[in-house]
């Protein structure tokens, strides 16, 4: 139970860290950093609270497959980034916020 309390303390420290980091004008570091910290927090929750550390390896494999599948779906979504924008019927071209690149 001490271990669980320590994990909780680490989670709160990471939360404080991510809020502090986001308030700094660091641009990309801040954007990527907040998700790196989120991934660390999620890993702590899953490893200790969800007991991946002592369960069967098969459970960890299921998690890996789910995350990999999510990644594949996101790759498919990148299709949108390679196309020109056409305003939909309900939006006037002026209000559409187009990619600048």
């Amino acid at each position: 139970m001490t271990r669980l309390a320590l994990v909780h303390a680490a989670l709160l420290a990471l939360l404080a860290g991510t809020v502090a980091l986001s308030s700094l004008p660091l641009g990309l570091i801040s954007a990527v950093g907040s998700f790196v910290i989120a991934a660390i927090k999620a890993a702590l929750v899953m490893w200790f609270f969800m007991e991946l550390r002592r369960g069967r390896a098969l459970n960890r494999l299921v998690l890996a497959v789910a995350v990999l599948t999510l990644g594949l779906l996101l790759l498919a979504g990148s299709d949108y980034l390679t196309r020109a924008w056409t305003a939909a019927g309900w939006e006037s071209p002026a209000t559409a916020d187009r990619p600048t690149s």
Binding site: L74, D97, R98
Partner: protein
């Protein structure tokens, strides 16, 4: 789980493993339920970065941070409930379940307060959407941000409500049956922690985008 395993299992241990595995597979499919939201958010964050920054700076960082801390703490209580139950401390386990539920309810109360504020400001996407703080050409992007915001927090809140029902159900059963089977409490715990993990990613995605400008 009773002393005798179900007929398709060799032992109780094997049945317990199967229950855990089944729960993890279910949570894997739950993760994919959130996948379109993740993809939609990532597209907006990339293609409408400036508007997303404006939208994000209008979320309430203090309330969001307090809510994150409460949800993380509720996860600790849930994990302790399972630990106490394993050690035979049924009463202590029940108290931890109550604490978990109370933190979950407090989270929803604060979230509802936030939604009410967002709604009154006219930030709910749709016909009545109003956002005068952003220049005209960025308003479409800000509205898209709020679609992600309401869809993400809304889907999360639905899961939290289901989680609350499960946690309170586990607590309620304790008074009526001799005890909740440990595997059932574990599954409730896994679901609760999953809700926590989803929020851990929603928080930076919605509240922390380009705060520092």
């Amino acid at each position: 789980m009773s002393a005798v395993p179900a007929p398709q299992f060799v032992s109780r241990g094997q049945q317990h493993d199967a229950v855990r595995l089944g729960m993890w597979v279910f949570l894997g499919t739950e993760l994919l339920l959130f996948a379109p939201l993740v993809a939609g958010w990532a597209f907006g964050r990339w293609a409408m970065a400036e508007a997303f920054g404006i939208g994000s700076r209008h979320t309430d960082l203090v309330l969001g941070t307090v809510n994150t801390a409460m949800l993380l703490t509720s996860s600790l209580c849930m994990a302790l409930a399972v630990e106490h139950r394993r050690a035979g401390g049924i009463a202590a386990s029940g108290r931890m379940l109550i604490a978990t539920a109370l933190l979950g309810i407090a989270f929803l109360a604060i979230k509802s307060w936030e939604w009410r504020h967002d709604w009154n400001e006219g930030w709910f996407p749709g016909h009545g959407f109003a956002f005068h703080e952003a220049p005209q050409h960025l308003r479409g992007g800000v509205e898209y941000f709020f679609i992600c915001y309401f869809a993400g927090t809304g889907l999360h809140a639905i899961h939290l409500l289901i989680g609350l029902a499960l946690v309170l159900g586990a607590r309620w059963r304790r008074q009526h049956a001799a005890s909740v089977p440990i595997w059932r409490l574990e599954c409730v715990g896994l679901y609760w922690h999953f809700i926590d993990v989803i929020w851990i990613f929603l928080f930076p995605a919605l509240y922390l985008v380009e705060r520092g400008g």
